[in-house]
Amino acid sequence: MTQFRPGRDVYVVGVGLHSFGRFPEQTLSDLARDAVVDALRDSGVPWTAIPVAYFGHVYYHGMSVGETTLAQLGLTGVPIINVENACSSGSTAFWQAYWGITSGVFDMALAFGAEKVPGGPVTVTAENSPARYIGGDHMMAGYALRMTRYMEETGAPASAFAQVTVKARQNASMNPYAHRKDTYSVEDVLNSRLIADPLTLYQCCPTSEGGAAAVLCAGDALDAHGIDRSRAIRIAAAALTSGNYNGRGSDHSAFSPYRTEPAALQAYEMAGIGPEDVDIVQVHDAATIGELQQVEALHIFPYGEAWQATVEGRTALTGDVPVNTDGGLLAMGHPFGATGIRQVHETVTQLRGEAGPRQVENPRVGVAQCSGAGDVTTVHILTR
């Protein structure tokens, strides 16, 4: 269905973050700008050399926030595009930056994202929607429905889900950018208050604020820009999909994770690799069940078996396929516009061998998967 015509090789040459958490004194632009400055510094490329920028964010903070943010760095006149694709807004900005370069239009691009998510349960419909009478527009309730069903079909115990949070918190305790750094036991997670049975509070990602940025460059332009090739990480695949009926309509299986599969298959095809070649994985773990089902949809583990792999430690930093090595949404927090690029940040940092105490041993291939309302899915594959 989708035709891929990637042209030039594209590399991530700089990544940056603004810490994730709550920052009432800082504006959305402040968070975004700090991440961009961090990424530019990491790349060694000056802002004046960037020919195009894509900005992911969801909640309204005035028009053209991408432009007003980057105006602080100097008015260079380049095209700046504001992207809204729900929780995948940041990864969609990254996807656009990739295709802008590989297609030959631009030599470099900046992808950045930021968000200040309001507290409380996240809804996706407008205030006056009939959905408010129905009671089904509730992200975590959607995940809880999946979890009930998954437990029924696989026999997974509640403790297996809690282990996802335990692992996320352990990873985040070694990550200075994380929203939540304190660690928990399985019992702590299961005993936290119920949000939507069987999901407890510590199995749901915090709503957060933060920023993330990445500088991308064509392989044939690296030398001209004086970029250190030893720290450049190649983008082997960039896939973005929306809902695909595929035997199950949008009213089936609320928020089905299996919509990830088409994007994953596209990405593996583009990269010329299979799931067995993947060393590290970042997935959209807005809730514990999300991580289990996404790694299954990526074919890292067979359907219904990710919970067992988690219990066995296979997805821990020391396991054979570490998942959400920086703490994921569960511990990093989830500023929608930033999350997808934060996953790229972590993948690049791991592939460079610069992840410090949470460094995985010698990873060469990393996958980053991000989901969003509207059945948006992005899958990016990065290689060293």
């Binding site: 809804t123 129905i134 009213d251």
Partner: protein, 147 residues
């Protein structure tokens, strides 16, 4: 239904929460039918409105009455409600699979929490719901209860 609701419905026709999803069949709003759109070309049926088929994109759709009974595909007990939720807390949210294929999310009523089971038969129930302190906001809402 409270007495005040009864008086109101004598003055005003009860309104469906969404006429594209629920057609009311009784003057007092106590009976109704869930509506779906079925593709004449491939037979795929969806709950609620559609202009083109979700599966084959055909414009040849026909509106059909959906079954009033289905099975509970999954459920959750919502302890922290979404903003604007006008009902009791906690409430049970159920995903019911209808024989025509669609899954319909709605509140499950008249069921003890420990009696909930995946696969249990469910039947349609209609209830009037008003948004607190919002004038003229009463609507008839579809819900599920054990069959």
């Amino acid at each position: 239904m409270t007495p005040s609701c009864g008086r109101r419905s004598e003055l005003h026709e009860p309104l469906s929460v969404d006429e594209r999803c629920l057609r009311l069949n009784a003057d007092d709003g106590s009976a109704g039918t869930l509506l779906g759109m079925r593709c004449v070309e491939c037979g795929v049926t969806v709950f609620g409105p559609a202009t083109f088929c979700q599966s084959c994109s055909s414009p040849r759709l026909e509106q059909i009455d959906l079954a009033t009974e289905g099975t509970l595909y999954s459920y959750t007990i919502v302890r922290v409600p979404p903003s604007g939720w006008p009902g009791p807390v906690p409430y049970v949210l159920g995903e019911v699979e209808l024989p025509e294929g669609p899954h319909v999310l709605a509140e499950v009523i008249d069921c003890a929490h420990d009696a909930l089971r995946v696969g249990m038969p469910m039947t349609l129930a209609l209830r009037p719901v008003a948004m607190p302190e919002v004038p003229d906001s009463e609507r008839v809402v579809y819900k599920w209860r054990p069959a």
